[in-house]
Amino acid sequence: MKPVQLLAVFAENKPDQLARVTRQLADAGVNIHWVGIADVQKFGVIRFLVDKTDLAFEWLKQHDVTVSRVEVLAVEVEDRPGGLHQVAAILAGDSISLANVSGFVFNHRAILLLEVPELERARRLLTDRGLHLLSEEEMLSL
């Protein structure tokens, strides 16, 4: 199973940056399924899950947007307190640290997007413990 691909856009501290990128994606006929913003100190990176990743990537690049691809794992957890903790504990038990985590709930399904340095190892650990990882198709059909 391929990892889920997100697009990561460098966001300077300009309020209109998100609007600028979403407008460009709309122009390209790309649908956005999920947006998350990662902020560390003064840097912001906006992440998108879109239906046509390759097209969107090329389009943004051509329009001078600083964009990169990021691979993440999409893990379904129980929609109750402790869902994230369970995942973090499994990974920490094998000394894999989480770089970035975002989560959202859709139709009563709780999904965590995990950015980890060793994607494959993390995937095996999580599936071995009975967690369900979603493919990109599943993510887009949520």
Binding site: F10, G44, V45, S68, A99
Partner: protein
Amino acid sequence: MYWQAEIETMPRPELEALQLRRLQEVVRRVATTVPFYRQALAEAGVSPDDIRSLADARRLPFTTNADLRANYPDGLLAIPRQQVTRLHTSSGTTGKPKALFFSRRDVDQAAELIARCLVMTGCTAEDVLQNMMTYGLFTGALVLHYGAEKVGMLVIPAGPGNSERQLMLMQDFRTTVFHTTPSYALYLAEFIRKRGLDPRKDLALRKGLVGAEAHSEETRRKIEEALGIDAYNSYGLSEMNGPGVAFECEHKSGLHLWEDQYLLEIIDPVTGVPLADGERGELVLTSLTREAMPLLRYRTRDLTSVIPAPCPCGRTHRRLARITGRSDDMLVVRGVNLYPQQIERVLMSIPELGSNYLIHLRGLDELTVKVEFAASGFDGRVENLVRLEERVVEKLRAEILVKPKVELSAPGTLPVSEGKAKRVVDERVL
């Protein structure tokens, strides 16, 4: 390959004898034709007859930037006005420009020196030169243009900017050599890359002649790698004809200064005391052959040193080390002296960074370095940008001994200039 083999490889004793003859002649000439020099020589207590050796040049008065401005427009003219065939100016940051006159022979002589420089880098009549410097009052483009025509190159007077058109010219006329500033060379390389073109395959470029801004060895390497060319450092100043005063030969290790035309000294910029070969100081030049407006001991404010060792190319004219800054570019930040070129050198040595940067001074001695990261340097992970920024701060601190603020910007977001790049903005309230 030499353009004027006899002069370029003239044994030192002969070359120095020629210099002395020309120095005596020029001092005599300005003493009689330029009232400013007549007075300056009198005040220094020197008469033309006192110049019996090259060392006696040290007794001559300096000419400064301020003298040129004070004598604007034609106070330093040494020939009758009707014998002047060309005017160039050199702009300053404030007030009137400096006016620089050429006689017909000066124009021709400047072109000869350019021809020496071009042949020295391996250019031939087969080459196609795209001249991307500014044509007009600035000497950069026109003076080089005339020299390239002497060599027989096909010269495209493209002028600066309009990258779209530059690229079209390069493709359609198979440009092999270009002449521009280091900042525009880097900008153009990025522009070409964005077009999805590979300069090594899609263009015929072989050489870049890079000048008008002091730049570091790291910047040269970056230009060479980005475009797949050999880049040669060009040094000149409008007060001494413009480009062609000193240029790198094929060995790219120091710039041969044409000593049959210019008498060179390195002095301590503060005390004015002459320094020995190898010591870094301010370059002082006397034009030995200019007719219209010869200058005695002109303070260039450019900092460099003389490389005394002979060059394997066989030229006997001594080499200047890469200019490391202007004495008036020096910044004093929190009591520490530093040059913008030091900052540039650090930035260019970090592959994750782009080539566009800005040094911003504001408030009370607050130094901020704004730099673009390279498009390839963004992997979508914020932590890596934070880490990169910390690395830049640390490397700069180690070089300039002041801890700057660093602001990383996205590629293509800092302002780009097409002429001489303005890299330092000083808005301090001191």
